[in-house]
């Protein structure tokens, strides 16, 4: 086992404390936004806007 071996293309070793996944945070926030908007669209427009909803 080579403990930190991470490929030949490594130009610098980044340890746990020096790493903040900023890009990941941005991507995941975008995903959150997409999910929320799409959910609202699907539920309120596609579903509730549809004909013959089963009611009590």
């Amino acid at each position: 086992m080579v403990p930190t071996m991470s490929g030949e293309n490594t130009v610098r070793e980044i340890g746990h404390d020096e790493f903040d996944p900023k890009g990941t945070l941005v991507l995941i926030l975008v995903y959150f936004g997409v999910l929320s908007v799409m959910w609202v669209f699907m539920y309120f427009v596609e579903f509730l806007g549809n004909d013959l909803t089963v009611l009590v």
Partner: protein
């Protein structure tokens, strides 16, 4: 430059030649199933869109049964046992306890698959009475040949023994290393197999107690809602059983390929424990629009299902962060500019990333499927296959193929035949699935049904709110064709790799996590505890619904009479005792 520069390290094959042979055999079984499944998939994609109809529409259902079973039972699960054998042996760093035992469970799985496949393909041969045109869900009272149910049972027994093999290795290791934490891959294998033991209770009861004896003629009535519910008891967790190999690869192999390290080992463990706990008590979400099940039970299943999103959402973060770590170690900078620093020419990397991207989309349609009442909109429409071709059909399938490009050299000491073809293959899959799945989702919203040879009706037309049905049909057919081409490229590439020269020292050690297991509480590794809680949750979720279904319809069917016993000659000679048992059960049922 190249990600495959020789590291000088030994490969898995160098260290564990016997185990490598089993892994290769399991992977080959998986690829054969994939290739056959792709042929059937292509036929379906062309047939139901009326682009090209090579077969009779009645035979469409034989094809569809074969596609479903080959893909989601054989392809995925054979890969899983191969990968898990590799991961267990690799992470505990010790061979299996008995290689004969290992070959035994593999042999059982092959035998079971062959039995089921013969029963299914018999559907094409009108001269035999063997057939199993029941689709991979085999809802009673549709009946398949006993060979089909028998094959499934033997296959599942094979997987149980495989699980026991991993546990055996773990216990042997633990005896020698009493104070060590379970290595991450081993942990993932073990939690997944424990989940499998919980999940398969449902299918085992459905098949062994009801469907198999019923197909042998030991009794002639059955409670369709009961066997259907037992099917879905297993049918949801099996989804995670398909997915966990992909997660294992994303957590433990992808970071290394990206040039980084896993962001957090403890969170990976938490995620797998959550899957063990929550995968099973949710199956009723496949029955949101079923009669005979109270709305309260459906609501409970929905709530559990929604919380089951959590481990996947956490995984998205952890995996992307690990990749970002790799990109930054490779010199990537900027808020998003690091994306350019990643090894996009490596088919293993690109394939897994594209698979993950499609999983994000599939995650969304899954959230819709999970939302109890919105299920009226999509239930049993082609939207649903649109969804799961993104999840199992891509997040899993594409990850497994991509990972093979990395893993195969470790198992054979040979390079991949062609990396550029591999790269093209994963991209073609992505494009093909983008087209096919998009068309399926949109068509589903028009109400176009799944599992239908000719979704064209005499009395009405589907109303397209955007695009047109024929345009979407074409999109679906083109997508399906690309997928077929991609599959063939993959299988050919792997087969041709056998002809490349033998190398030594091409081992690829995996990088250590950034946050290691030492940061996590020991209780995480208490597998007995989690297994126990998982069982309790299942009892809580299923005891009342099952009791109510049995109370309504009886154990053996909703007929008036207390189950007439019709024992056919074959059955009478094989299993007379079982027959009497069934009669006894029948007589106590109202």
């Amino acid at each position: 430059m190249s990600e495959q520069l020789e590291s000088g390290a030994p490969t898995f094959l160098d260290k564990f030649p016997d185990e490598a042979a089993v892994v290769r055999a399991a992977l080959w079984s998986s690829f054969i199933a994939l290739a056959l499944g792709a042929v059937f998939g292509l036929i379906q994609a062309l047939h139901r869109t009326d682009v090209l109809r090579l077969i009779d529409s009645t035979d469409y259902y034989t094809v569809l049964t074969a596609h479903g079973v080959l893909m989601v039972v054989s392809f995925t699960i054979f890969f899983l046992v191969g990968l898990f054998t590799w991961a267990t042996v690799r992470s505990f760093d010790r061979g299996v306890e008995s290689i004969r035992y290992t070959w035994t469970w593999y042999g059982l799985m092959v035998a079971g698959t062959l039995m089921a496949v013969v029963a299914i393909l018999g559907g094409f041969v009108p001269q035999t009475d063997i057939s199993a045109d029941v689709l991979f869900t085999f809802y009673a009272p549709m009946q398949a040949h006993p060979l089909f149910y028998g094959g499934l049972a033997i296959f599942v027994i094979g997987t149980w023994l495989a699980g026991a093999d991993y546990i055996w290795t773990w216990r042997a290791w633990a005896a020698e290393n009493p104070d060590e934490r379970i290595p991450l891959q081993g942990f993932m294998v073990l939690t997944t197999m424990l989940m499998w033991y919980v999940a398969t209770i449902g299918i085992a009861i459905a098949v062994v107690a009801f469907l198999l004896p019923w197909s042998l003629g030991l009794f002639d009535q059955i409670n369709p809602l009961l066997t259907r519910t037992l099917f879905w008891f297993w049918g949801h967790p099996v989804v995670y059983f398909w997915l966990m190999p992909a997660y294992l690869l994303w957590y433990t192999v992808l970071p290394t390929i990206a040039g980084g390290r896993l962001f957090s080992d403890p969170l990976g463990r938490v995620v797998f424990v959550l899957f063990l706990l929550l995968s099973t008590p949710v199956g009723i979400h496949h029955q949101y629009v079923d009669p005979g099940i109270a709305e309260g039970f459906k609501t409970i299943a929905m709530t559990n299902t929604m919380f089951l999103l959590l481990p996947s959402l956490l995984t998205a973060f952890t995996v992307v962060a690990s990749v970002e770590h790799g990109a930054r170690q490779r010199g990537g900078t900027g808020l998003l500019g690091w994306l350019r620093a990643l090894p996009w020419r490596n088919p293993a990397f690109t394939g897994m990333m594209l698979a993950g991207l499609m999983f994000a989309a599939g995650g969304f349609s899954g959230m819709i499927n999970a939302g109890m009442n919105i299920n009226y909109l999509v239930h049993n429409t082609i939207w649903v296959p649109g969804h799961f071709h993104l999840t199992v059909g891509t997040a899993v399938a594409l990850t497994l193929m991509a990972a093979t490009y990395w893993l195969w050299p470790q198992l054979t000491n040979r390079r991949l035949y062609s990396r550029p073809i591999g790269l093209a293959q994963v991209v073609i899959w992505f494009v093909g699935m983008g087209l096919m799945s998009n068309a399926m989702h949109v068509q589903g919203l028009f109400g176009i049904p799944r599992r239908t040879a000719e979704p064209q009706y005499e009395g009405f037309d589907f109303v397209a709110s955007f695009g047109s049905v024929s345009e979407l049909n074409l999109q679906l057919a083109i997508g399906g064709t690309l997928l077929f081409i991609s599959t063939m490229l993959f299988v050919t590439n792997i087969a041709l790799s056998a002809g490349t020269p033998k190398l030594s020292g091409i081992g690829q050690p995996l990088s250590e996590p950034l946050s290691t297991v030492d940061d996590s509480p020991e209780i995480l590794d208490n597998l007995k505890l989690w297994f126990g809680i998982a069982l309790v949750l299942v009892v809580l979720a299923y005891a009342l619904p099952l009791a109510s279904i049995i109370d309504r319809g009886g154990l053996l069917g909703p007929g008036v009479d207390p189950v007439p016993m019709i024992v056919e000659p074959v059955a009478a000679t094989i299993e007379p005792t079982l027959g009497r048992l069934a009669a006894a059960v029948g007589s106590v049922v109202p």
